[in-house]
Symmetry: C2
Subunit: 346 residues, 2 copies
């Protein structure tokens, strides 16, 4: 059921540089893709485009599609993801404008660009491409649970959108800089755009979840380390199934719990508290044992972007003292990150 | 992406009576669909068809497709499910024979009959239907986790294929016979064939798992009870994600743990032990609290079909004494089942 375009859309071939489209987003947590590309593929981003009402910004130049095209952009990337992955009608005029300005469109949502007839017709007429990146491989086996060679580290979380991808990217690069044969494994659309490969786990048919995760981090040399981007949370009311299938298929030796100490509750679900770090550790070990009896927690990654330096240090120290586990904000680096890398390199 | 045929294939319209196709199956656990239809829709089954090598039987008359057609059969139902839901090539000759004998074909596997070109071409030529029942609704929202009215009972398990569907069917009928407004909610292909409606949860795209479960047991009158067919196990290396999404979306008030005391390990995964009933209870409560803080275990359903009457009674007594929970084999009935129904009716 794959469209040829989608099958051809290997991220390595994505038309860049990009214009990052933010829609009318007011919730920074929903702009993960735009921020991820800005932070990890900055050289491929020429600017951002928004609709009236947007308060979220990447800090890049705000450009019209025509201005972006004049600066060399070859595609507009939809840089926001809302619940359910819908492409709202209010975006259509901007998408049309981008096509008319000479840009292809790249999206990683469940709604497929190619399923919007007017857009597809216009793209066909203008010779532009609509590239839907959230398309899993056509053939995925069910999981086997069989132990495979190589080492695996999985990032897990107390919620969505709080640092699992960034943590995995920093850990993979940090291990590589120590001479370890480490690789970032992308399980979501932004990670796939950054890495150039991966599997959009949440777009896989449920019965094949663990099997897809097994494909994502295949058997490897004994000293190879896959650092796998986690998804969701075992305690998330909508997406926990994805998290559990990814955990079982990844059969990680080590996991790192990602948490945002400033988040009051589950993002987008008012009144729902986050699980504690300790609850996530306990549940991850209990369920992770099914496919890897030796699973253990390597440490904790705190997203302290909402704190001052002093507040962040106090939070990191308190969490490390309370849990007895190396605790770092990967984006702040420093000795704490080195201790977390030590734990992941064991 | 739904074929019109699949969209039309509401189970209530399935062409019956059925001939039950068992392939060359030697593992009774894989013949759930055939046994389910024999036990719960016996009036719609005229016989069974097998390939050489099959050792599994429903006990119904063994018929060729032509003989079944002569007895009034209108379709051949694929009554076995293997890992991954593949339709093996060794079945093709039998499927062709059925079409040529005048039967439609009904399947509930991930592999779609309609995707086998030779079969589709033959069906078109002969005017027969290929009905793929494992097709979820086209539009499913993501889960919200919002509390909804009505009561829900979910069957969960220590493994696949050990009695979650039968237990839910018996409990729903038992509650109905007490005058309670209870309804069986089918989450798998056999249940859907029996009930005439439902959602094949394991065929839903992962991100929408909990949302599909929310659709399956919608808000209802305060005293209405949905008895929801569980899937897999939280401790299953391949399918646990499905189980967790179904748990969260069902937000059950009560759950019943289904277990087969004679099963040595996870079906089809040699060397992998089953979780204990107690582990399943603890994990179900811990994770189920995310969407229903009042979740609790109503009791235990033991599949004692492999035991003598005395052995079964001893096992039921021992389990009830150990756990302090009502423990019954729903297929044996008796006072134990009444106690389990008491617990579910609270």
């Amino acid at each position: 059921m794959l469209e040829p375009e989608a099958r051809d859309a290997r991220p390595g071939e994505l038309p860049s540089p990009y214009l990052l489209f933010l829609g009318d987003t007011v919730e920074p947590g929903y702009a993960k893709t735009a921020f991820g590309l800005r932070d990890w593929a900055r050289e491929r981003c020429v600017g951002e485009a928004t609709l009236p009402g947007a308060t979220v910004t990447t800090g890049l130049d705000r450009l019209t599609p025509a201005e972006a095209h004049a600066r060399g952009a070859r595609s507009m990337v939809i840089g926001v993801a809302n619940r359910g992955g819908i492409i709202p009608e209010s975006w259509t005029a901007s998408l049309v404008e981008a096509l008319e300005a000479g840009l292809d469109i790249v999206a990683g949502m469940h709604s497929r660009l190619a399923d919007i007839p007017a857009l597809q017709a216009l793209a066909n007429r203008l010779g532009r491409r609509l590239i839907d990146i959230r398309t899993p491989p056509t053939i995925i086996p069910t999981g086997t649970g069989a132990r495979r060679s190589g080492k695996r580290v999985l990032t897990v979380g107390t919620d969505c959108a709080l640092g699992k991808k960034y943590t995995a990217l920093v850990l993979a690069r940090g291990l590589q800089s120590r001479g370890i044969d480490a690789q970032f494994r992308a399980s979501g659309q932004t990670g796939i755009m950054i890495a150039g490969e991966g599997i959009p786990i949440d777009a896989v048919v449920s019965d094949f979840l663990a099997g897809a995760a097994e494909m994502l981090s295949p058997a490897a040399a004994p000293d190879h380390v896959d650092v796998i981007e986690g998804q969701g949370s075992l305690f998330h009311p909508s997406y926990a199934g994805v998290s559990l299938g990814l955990l079982h298929g990844s059969q990680p030796d080590l996991f790192v719990v990602c948490h945002d100490p400033t988040r009051a509750g589950i993002l987008g679900y008012p009144g729902r508290p986050l699980p504690s770090i300790e609850e996530v550790i306990a549940a991850t070990i209990e369920l992770g044992r099914v496919t890897n009896p030796r699973i253990r927690c390597a440490g904790i990654s705190l997203n302290t972007s909402g704190l001052t330096d002093d507040q962040a240090q106090a939070e990191l120290d308190a969490t490390e003292a309370r849990t007895g586990l190396p605790t770092a904000d990967p984006m702040r680096g420093g000795p704490a990150l080195e201790r977390l890398l030590d734990a992941c390199a064991q």
